[in-house]
Amino acid sequence: MDTLHQIISPDFLLRNSLYTSVLIGLACPLVGVFLVMRRLVFMGVALPQISSTGVAIALSLPLWMGVKLDHHASQSVHTLAFAGSMVFSLGAILILAVLERRGRGQPEGRLGTAYVVASALSILLLAKNPYGEIGWLDMLKGEVITISNFDLTLTAAALALVVATLGLFHKELLLVSFDREMALTLHKRVVFWDVLLYVLIGLTVSMAVLSVGPLIAFGFLLIPALTAHAVARTMHGFTILASLIGGATAFLGFCIAYGLDVPVGPTDVVLLGLLYAIVWGAARFMRKCAAP
């Protein structure tokens, strides 16, 4: 109880980290439900890693041009990292989605290849950084524990934009995602809505990767959505429930990490996994009981 009081106190030292965790926890599942419903779970694995590679490339660019980055100028470094992350996430999701729409080849194979190539590229870029890896590892892993006011503002603004856009155009985005033929019949601008959805996914993934790293971003993108999918009956309920599971787990994970003196990110993911297993098991049990 004492831990909880400390954490929710407005002058808590790590308030920015807590707020960012909860924001990521609430926002990631909102786009994660589209990945789950479109059967693009592998995209949820590959995208954070590609986004992370985008960070590495963006940080490499000034070095290749002979400009040494001042790692104490954290705002400019963070903005550069965000730009790289966003460009790569968006570029990758557009290319992968176009290929998927054409229906040729094996989507899982493409996503798997994109994932491993992106991981390997990050390692190569680190190895060839002529000034060493000062701060890069932390940037690529995510630094939820050291979120500054600027980082929090940037994350909050980006995620607010995502949530507002999803709220405004939820019907259109759902229609083109799950009943494309109907959308075409209704003369909806299918390509426009697709691109908008990809921009929102790219933006959310970029913010999540920069704050919590690719592994935890992946966790929040998919596991709350999968958990909610096991019990939700309507699309609306599915989306809201996934978001609430993400936000609540982020908060609870932070409390547990603080209480047990363990890192935040891995705690969140283990908690999400446990919750998924329990809900999935319970839902299965209930279905069995309800069966005649």
């Binding site: 980290s17 790692h71 190895a127 060493g132 000062i134 990490a257 003196d261």
Partner: protein, 324 residues
């Protein structure tokens, strides 16, 4: 169409194969019979080049600026080690990959030198054992989280550094007995410098207003703290890629306030964000405390030595501990 694909694939492979060709490196003179020494960390490199002088070609396996705890050897490192006479590493806890790596190369000529032979290793966080509840949270189990792992940063106790000098000199003498007197004379000079450094640390840190220093990086300065009777806390555990925990950061902030500190320390080669966050929260300043695992390109270009790094640390410690 298939032929076009086949030709394209062949062309791609041809272009890639041409990229594999190494740039021409000037061959060493024919009469060249120097000892070839490969080292893993900067302190070993610096000591080995001091002892080896112009009788040894010493290289550092870590590229400038690369954080050593996460380092993986590259193919060119394997080639370099295969041609070496000596491969010097710190200990099995610092470079757990080293022995396996060298043995896997089947390079029969290379002698593996464990520079920590004869050094008593401390447990990471051992000097905290039995301490009071210094994080002020009133609960147990939070301030001994480092204990258990061995602390591999032995070079930060200058007595250990002298044992490392002896080990490296012995290995050089064993491989090149013709130059024994030369190596031993250089080793003696190196040890004398370390003794002087140790004396300066003892004198410089004897009359300080504060006896505690806090570090935003991984646990690296346990030996130094132990030797000079200081209390030391770090944000992360002994492995550099360990993530700091929220509870530890809050405890460090409380300690800064409780001890009336004016400075916290940041780590070389890793992000200073943790130290900066603590500093911002408590209104103190950040100073660098260099663990000397490796140095950046700028320091390499300026000819920085282990001794000069340690003297920089002494200056910063004296400032941070408010020494007279």
């Amino acid at each position: 169409m298939k032929k076009v694909y086949a030709v394209s694939v062949a062309l791609i492979f041809a272009v890639l194969a041409s990229a594999c060709e190494k740039k021409e490196v000037p061959a060493p003179p024919a009469a060249h019979k120097n000892l070839i020494v490969v080292t893993t960390l900067f302190p070993l490199y610096d000591v080995a080049r001091t002892i080896g002088g112009d009788k040894a070609e010493v290289s550092l396996i870590l590229p400038p600026g690369v954080e050593p705890h996460t380092f993986e050897p590259r193919p060119e490192d394997a080639a370099r080690v295969t041609k070496a006479d000596l491969f010097i590493f710190t200990n099995e806890f610092m470079e757990p990959w080293a022995v396996k790596f060298v043995k896997g190369l089947n390079a029969g000529n290379v002698a593996l030198v464990d520079s920590s032979r004869g050094v008593t290793l401390l447990r990471a966080g051992a000097e905290e054992a039995g301490a009071d509840d210094h994080d002020g949270r009133g609960d147990k189990g939070h301030h001994h989280h480092h204990a258990g792992a061995m602390d591999p940063h032995i070079w930060l106790d200058f007595d250990n550094a002298q044992i490392m000098v002896d080990n490296i000199a012995s290995a050089m003498v064993a491989r090149d007995p013709a130059n024994k007197a030369y190596y031993l004379a250089n080793a003696a000079a190196c040890k004398a410098e370390l003794e002087k450094l140790d004396a300066d640390y003892k004198a410089g840190l004897s009359s300080c207003a504060k006896r505690v220093f806090l570090h935003g990086g991984h646990y690296a300065f346990g030996y130094l703290a132990n030797r000079y009777g200081l209390q030391y806390e770090s944000a992360s555990a002994v492995n550099a890629d360990a993530e700091p925990t929220p509870a530890k950061l809050v405890a460090l902030v409380k300690q800064v306030r409780a001890n009336g500190l004016k400075y916290v320390y940041s780590e070389e080669l890793l992000s200073p964000r943790v130290s900066e966050m603590i500093a911002k929260e408590t209104g103190v300043s950040v100073l660098l405390l260099h663990g000397a695992h490796n140095i950046g390109k700028a320091d390499f270009d300026q000819g920085v030595t282990f001794i000069s790094l340690m003297r920089r640390n002494l200056t910063n410690l004296r400032t941070g501990l408010q020494c007279k």
